[in-house]
């Protein structure tokens, strides 16, 4: 028998999810308990490791604001679920649904007749003083009278076993996607138990959400297009946005992907504007429309409110619903519930004292040493203060604050948290940690439906008194036992798809995503070519002048391309090379290009496979490591080698993993344009130099064109000008030859032209023909004419420069045709 539970506390002062007050295992925990007792710590460790690996492989992350080590922290999920019996859940769910209904009615009132305010049932302070009360939304009635499409409530369990509400989430509740994701992993960790315990499915929640948005969206007879609006990849729950968008089948868009014309919202896609009928938003209320709401927001959609006002689009949750997120509100809900519905609230809220009433303020001042003080307005950055933690002086200062502006503060009883066992892998034992639950409700045609399950949050350590994912907590799956409804679906609900549903390409690909794919292609190629040239120069430098002429030629080419800083008196060659690799202040350093690559990739993360993303992170990480220490030249060379390997892997993923849709086509075009420009310019630079017949120089030119092996197998000889140029310029079978790039570009553009109307652009065919017609024989070695007569090499160089310039024009041409409306908007104001 294992002693996994030996240290588990069994005190009666705290509610333990696992043990009752007498120390006996609660009946609904019994099967799990018996199951776990058969495990050794090593076995549990192994299961948790498997779980953690799955999480990493799936790229589940949670961004932490202000974390210098970058966003993307892996999501913390405990192996053990939080288990709730069916009958207990039934009561909870009724309470949550009742509360959602009530809060929806409060929103209808404050944005409508404001009777609750006039009758004194709700203080104006809590509404008009709240920055999420949006005056421009007053009088707008959303479709179906639904303000709250989704609602989440945070619950904590007191020692007496009752669940208490600690907070309402009414604006854009997060966590439902993580709940689904948690379910996916934990159900796999205990497949038999999961089946035998008949754990209720959570996926119906998402199904209902889809139904509700489709039903209530003003579709004017069209099939409604619903999009998920995200503030972008810097948001703490961006992963969830990606995940939800995939699960719900909604395009994931940013504010700049949408435009409002004639009071109608459109998605900017490659194929033009597509009308959007509903927005599921994860963007805060006041950021949604920079025209009428927060003018300093760059995240929203200018004019969105016009479309909402005209009833042309549904926004879920309705704009301004965040006004209900105040710790001052719950105290007024019981009376409002009695007034509006004649009902008592089924779920209690933790005791709160809103200081806006003079007698209440006096009470709070008296109880200050026991209470927690919070701002009534979440936008005011006021960290909660705990009375017991303050000394007399601090308490006096706080009291003065409360007296000055009493209505802005709320005194709260500290929530008491129950404890649930969590697997502590490092210590090899189970630890009783404080937990709370976030439970979700969604509006449906017949009232609110509550997800049977939810996100259980676990405090960062055993004695914590607050739960916060921002402050290093973890999460658990929530298992509601007893009886699956016949109608409910497995965790990934399945809608039967027929032939009519077959989709071969994404019709709602936002132009911004395509533009970023294009730049992703360009920067990945730019990094690869740059790394290759830097590698050649560094190797030459380390070999210390085996062939100074060849090295000089390489440096000249790199300078001409802007990849190497010009010589200067305060910087020797080694310094210049270092700067070209890692210099923050050198605009085209490899480090900076990697950063641009990363930025482009991050904006299209939804289109990249997980392996693809991992490969990118790896690249970034390696550069980051080198920066922090003075790397010697050997390490720099190693770094460049590994970069080239990673780059090759990345190109492999792109070639193999991505579907050949328009996004992929643009990525490919981006790669080809970049490679064509690079090759044309570097070979032109080479031809103008003095090393055209230098064997080592020709060897590095082959390496630069990634064609050494082909050359060697074909010629079994050292590098010579004519065959090298043929291979790098004219050989249409060589994927690194100039003509090959022109060829692929032409066919890609033709494919693009089949789907989109395009004005004729730069004439690639003419370039192709002129280059193909160039007689390399004119460059043959002639000891009498050359090197004194460089006419032929210069002519070829000129032609290559023309090719490069024409390629640049092609890039502009594509930008003007496809991405011009991706332009950033700006605000104007006259005083």
């Amino acid at each position: 028998m294992s002693d996994l539970f030996a240290d588990h506390p069994r005190d009666a002062a705290t509610y333990h999810e696992l043990f009752d007050a007498s120390g006996k295992v609660r009946p609904h925990w019994r099967p799990m308990f018996d199951f776990l007792r058969r495990f050794t710590p090593a076995q549990l460790r192994q299961r948790q490791a498997l779980l953690t690996r799955q999480i990493q492989e799936n790229g589940v992350t949670y961004n932490v604001y202000a974390d210098p080590d970058g966003a993307d922290r892996p999501w913390e999920l405990d192996l053990l679920p939080n288990i709730i019996p069916a009958e207990e859940w039934q009561q909870l769910a009724e309470g949550v649904a009742q509360r959602a209904t009530l809060l929806n009615a409060v929103l209808a009132d404050v944005y409508g007749p404001q009777r609750l305010l006039a009758e004194g049932l709700l203080p104006t302070d809590l509404v008009f003083g709240h920055s999420n009360f949006l005056w421009p939304c007053r009088g707008i009635e959303p479709p179906g009278g639904t303000w709250l499409h989704v609602y989440a409530v945070d619950l904590a369990r007191a020692p007496d076993g009752r669940w208490w509400v600690t907070a309402d989430r009414t604006q854009a509740p997060s966590g439902a996607g993580y709940a689904l994701e948690n379910r996916q992993f934990v159900s796999r960790a205990f497949p038999d138990l999961y089946r035998d315990l008949r754990v209720q499915y959570v996926a119906g929640y998402f199904h209902t959400l889809r139904e509700t948005l489709a039903r209530e969206a003003p579709s004017d007879g069209e099939t409604p297009l619903v999009v998920l609006l995200t503030p972008g990849r810097f948001n703490e729950t961006y992963f969830e946005h990606l995940y939800l968008a995939r699960q719900l089948g909604y395009p994931l868009v940013e504010g700049s992907d949408l435009t409002v014309r004639d009071a109608t919202v459109y998605l900017k896609t490659l194929g033009g504007l597509k009308r959007v009928h509903a927005l599921l938003r994860r963007l805060d209320d006041d950021y949604c429309d920079p025209l009428e709401l927060r003018t300093d927001s760059a995240l929203g959609v200018p004019g969105l409110l016009d479309a909402v006002r005209e009833g042309r689009v549904l926004v879920a949750n309705a704009l301004g619903s965040g006004v209900l997120e105040s710790p001052g509100l719950p105290g007024f809900l019981p009376a409002i519930s009695r007034k509006l519905f004649g009902e008592e609230l089924l779920l209690p809220s933790i005791a709160s004292w809103w200081c806006g009433e003079p007698p209440v303020l006096q009470e709070v001042l008296k109880k200050l040493p026991q209470l927690m003080i919070r701002s009534a307005y979440p936008a005011r950055h006021f960290d909660p203060l705990f009375g017991p933690d303050l000394d007399a002086k601090q308490r006096a200062a706080l009291a003065e604050r409360l007296r000055q502006r009493p209505y802005a503060y709320v005194g709260l009883e500290r929530p008491q948290l129950s404890r649930a066992p969590m697997w502590e892998g490092e210590r090899g034992k189970l630890e009783a940690r404080p937990i709370g639950m976030r439970v979700f409700a969604v509006a449906s045609a017949d009232g609110y439906r509550v997800m049977p399950g939810g996100l259980t949050r676990v405090a960062g350590h055993a004695n914590a008194e607050m739960l916060s994912m921002q402050r290093g907590g973890a999460s658990k799956d929530t298992w509601v036992l007893g009886g699956r409804h016949a109608a409910s679906e497995p965790w990934q609900w399945v809608r039967p798809l027929g032939v009519a549903d077959i989709v071969r390409s994404d019709p709602y690909l936002p132009s911004r995503v395509v533009e970023n794919l294009y730049w992703f292609g360009r920067y990945s190629e730019r990094c690869e070519e740059g790394a290759r040239l830097l590698r050649i120069m560094l190797a030459g430098y380390v070999d210390n002048g085996n062939d100074p002429q060849a090295q000089q030629a390489a440096l000249a080419v790199a300078e001409g391309l802007g990849l190497l800083p010009a010589p200067s008196c305060d910087c020797d060659l080694e310094g210049r090379l270092r700067r070209a690799v890692l210099g923050k202040d050198w605009p085209s350093s490899l480090r900076n290009n990697l950063q641009y690559l990363h930025m482009a990739a991050a904006s299209v993360r939804g289109k990249l496979s997980q392996q693809n993303w991992q490969a990118l992170l790896e690249l970034q990480r390696a550069a980051h490591c080198l920066e922090n220490e003075e790397a010697d030249l050997g390490e720099l060379l190693d770094f460049l080698d590994s970069q080239l390997v990673s780059m090759a892997a990345l190109s492999g993923f792109v070639l193999d993993d991505m579907t050949r849709d328009h996004g992929w086509l643009f990525l490919l075009i981006g790669c080809r344009i970049e490679r064509l420009q690079f090759l044309a310019e570097s070979i032109a630079g080479f031809l103008r130099g003095r090393a055209v017949h230098d064997q080592s120089a020709l060897t590095w030119l082959l390496e630069l064109g990634n064609s050494s092996i082909t050359y060697r197998t074909r010629y079994l000889a050292t590098a010579q000008l004519i065959p090298v140029l043929d291979l790098l310029l004219l050989d249409e079978q060589n994927p690194h030859a100039v003509l090959y790039q022109l060829h692929v570009l032409r066919s890609s553009l033709r494919r693009l032209g089949e789907s989109f109307e395009m004005a004729p652009g730069p004439d690639l065919q003419a370039m192709h023909d002129r280059l193909a017609a160039f007689d390399l024989g004119r460059l043959e070695y002639n000891p009498f004419a050359y090197p004194d007569n460089p006419a032929a090499p210069n002519e070829l160089a000129d032609l290559l420069c023309e090719v490069a310039a024409e390629t640049g024009r092609l890039s502009d041409h594509l930008g003007l045709r496809f991405f011009v409306h991706v332009d950033a908007s700006q605000r104007t104001q006259s005083r």
Binding site: G129, D262, A263, T295, Q826, S830
Partner: protein, 304 residues
């Protein structure tokens, strides 16, 4: 005292360095109706013609014009031409107002029902985008709000204090300059002084709103009035249960009367800025604003 008649022309012009492909503008350029003011005529010329225009009232009851431009343009001109009659307001004694503490207490939540006027006043007691309440504002006004002083006398004392201690300096601030900085540097323009006075009043729990409008200015003696040399003006209005809303102009240390023309009111400048918008493209741009406020008789001589 008889009424005053004015011609007002308020023109805003943007010249963009790059074409603007899409623009939306909100204009608060038509005066609202109020008991002491009648708008005799109002025109709004917009060029290029907007693709979408709606004349509406905003949430505070001010006329609001919503404009959208969906064709590329290099220039935008919005020009309001108004004829307004300002009537004398009834005179009363400022001392005949309740003690300020009593007013604060009356405005605080008590669970009692609120009448329409109280509900209206409640809109103007809290934080707003440009007026974030801080302790320092209450402290600044402490010596004006001596115990038991009638509200309107205290407000007048505050107006005088701001007028006395602050320097008008158009270069000192911009629209986004934080109020705390204004308080610290003691410089600014009419909007800053209005915002500051609102902050001082609201941080005590009083209800006060921002009024945007125009002021008739007098040219230096012997010189003609210049066309386009005026500017938008701003002052505040405080709620007093007995007298209703009473205006104070901290920039000029006066109570608005026949020379103040009211355009709109809201919680602060953000609610009623004359013209604000979002454009796509445009490059760099600075608006050219010209305002002319002229007695009607004089304007007719100038054919304005």
């Amino acid at each position: 005292m008889t009424s005053a008649h004015y011609r007002i022309v308020h023109a805003t012009c943007y010249r963009y360095s790059a074409p603007v492909s899409l623009a939306k503008q909100l204009a608060h350029l038509w005066p609202r109706d109020c008991p002491w003011q009648r708008c005799r005529s109002r025109e709004l010329h917009v060029g290029p013609p907007p693709t979408w225009r709606i004349d509406d009232l905003d949430a505070f009851g001010n006329p609001l014009t919503r404009l959208a431009f969906e064709c590329p343009h290099h220039e935008l001109e919005v020009r309001a031409r108004l004829q307004v009659e300002v009537l004398p307001r009834p005179a009363f004694d400022l001392a005949d107002s309740p003690a300020w503490e009593q007013v604060c207490l009356g405005l605080a939540y008590s669970g009692r029902p609120l009448d329409a006027e109280q509900l209206e006043a409640a809109r103007f007691r809290f934080d707003s985008p440009y007026v974030l309440l801080e302790q320092s504002f209450a402290a600044y006004a402490d010596d004006c709000f001596v115990a038991g002083r009638p509200l309107l006398l205290a407000v007048q004392a505050l107006m005088e204090k701001i007028f006395r201690e602050f320097t008008f300096d158009a270069a000192a601030t911009q629209v986004a300059t934080p109020l705390e900085q204004v308080l610290e540097e003691r410089r600014g323009v009419c909007q800053d002084f209005a915002h500051l006075m609102l902050a001082c009043l609201r941080s005590r729990g009083l209800a006060a709103r921002y009024v945007s409008g125009y002021l008739l200015t007098q040219p230096p003696p012997g010189q003609p009035r210049l066309i386009g040399a005026d500017a938008s003006h701003a002052w505040i209005s405080v709620y007093c249960p007995r007298q209703g809303w009473v205006d104070f102009d901290p920039t000029n240390n006066m109570r608005p009367a026949l020379e103040h023309i009211t355009l709109a009111w809201g919680r602060d400048f953000a609610d009623v800025s004359p013209l604000r918008g979002v454009i796509l493209g445009g490059g760099s741009h600075d608006p050219e604003v010209s305002v002319t406020v002229m007695p009607l008789a004089e304007a007719e001589r100038h054919a304005l």
